[in-house]
């Protein structure tokens, strides 16, 4: 069975650099429309961490890339 995972992005730590989006091969992250307190549009995880169909593998490539350690990664 393919590994499943999910991530949590701390939107106040995130500066919206978008590097995680490039890193994610599954397209599970995007930039949010909202502004955070610092004035950035943070990244947001598109998937539902409960959903069985989610594509996120918990590969952590996003977190490895994130300059602001804004992403925590979990694997089932």
């Amino acid at each position: 069975m393919k590994k499943k995972g999910f991530i949590r992005i701390n939107s106040e730590l995130c500066k919206g650099c978008g590097l995680c989006i490039t890193a994610c091969l599954k397209g599970s992250i995007r930039i949010s429309n909202k502004l955070n307190m610092k004035g950035y549009h943070p990244a947001e995880y598109i998937e539902n961490e409960k959903s069985k169909n989610r594509k996120c593998t918990g590969c952590a490539l996003c977190a490895i890339t994130c300059p602001d350690i804004a992403i925590e990664v979990f694997r089932d």
Binding site: C17, L19, T22, I64, P67, I69, R75
Partner: protein, 250 residues
């Protein structure tokens, strides 16, 4: 049960990074912290931050730290290491710090084979002071002091410090890495770990050059900045091991 597979390293403090969005510095900080965690040396490590964007590295990396004047991190680190050889001492320096004002200190420490692990962050500009030319700036690159682009006759050529340090007899491990992609980041971490290991094994001077992005002063988005590193910067500064004599005599 979901199990956390990626979290903040222990050796990173809780503070929010002051770096610009997409800046490579905080990635590299994290790698250093991860390596310190993995080697279990947090309680005997001392770091020397530079004057540069990373001047506040002590707000993030949770080890003893002593500040150096701009360019003198390696000299300060030499003093610490020689005074207490049991400590693991690293410096963290930008290209202006290590390759311009600090050139002499860097070369002679390498030549003496000081037992130091040096993290050399090459982002091709003076970030902290607002984007002036660095020794590593590419030809033609526009900075605030090369308004029409870097001209070799006026401004000199991109300096390859790592290659020069390879000439020094006391350097044993020099590798150039980057933090533009997960793959490169993983390699960079391996290199940083090796640089610490070389010190723990008392082999000589170890340096990891990390090509880093400065989206702010390059006036590019973080993603474009990473692409620029991969497409342009690496042409001039190819990644890879530049010197490794750690296995000599095996």
């Amino acid at each position: 049960m979901a199990k956390q597979v990626f979290k903040r390293p222990d050796a990173i403090k809780e503070n929010v990074f002051h770096y610009c969005p997409g800046c490579g510095h905080s990635i590299i900080h994290r790698l250093v912290a991860e390596v310190i965690d993995e080697l279990g040396i947090r309680d005997k490590t001392v770091g020397v931050p530079p004057a540069g964007c990373a001047v506040l590295a002590y707000n993030y990396i949770n080890v003893d730290m002593g500040e150096a004047p701009h360019g003198r991190a390696i000299a300060v680190a030499t003093g610490i290491k020689r005074a207490r050889p049991e400590l693991i001492v690293f410096t963290y320096q930008g290209d202006g710090d290590i390759a311009a004002i600090g050139t002499a200190e860097t070369i002679h420490a390498a030549n003496r084979g000081e037992r130091l692990s040096v993290i050399f962050v090459n982002n091709g500009v003076y970030g902290m002071t607002g984007g002036q030319m660095a020794p590593t700036t590419l030809l033609g690159q526009t900075t605030t002091t090369t308004p029409g682009g870097r001209l070799p006759l006026r401004d000199g050529f991109p300096l390859d410090l790592s290659q020069m340090l390879a000439v020094a007899n006391g350097s044993v491990y020099i590798e150039r890495t980057a933090v533009t992609s997960p793959k490169n980041i993983i390699k960079a971490k391996k290199a940083i770990k090796k640089a610490f290991q070389v010190q723990m094994d008392d082999l000589g001077f170890a340096l990891v050059e990390v090509l880093s992005q400065c989206p702010t002063n390059w006036k590019l988005s973080p993603v474009e900045a990473c692409r620029r590193v991969e497409e342009e910067v690496m042409q001039n500064y190819p990644l890879g091991i530049i010197k490794d004599t750690t296995h000599k005599g095996d």
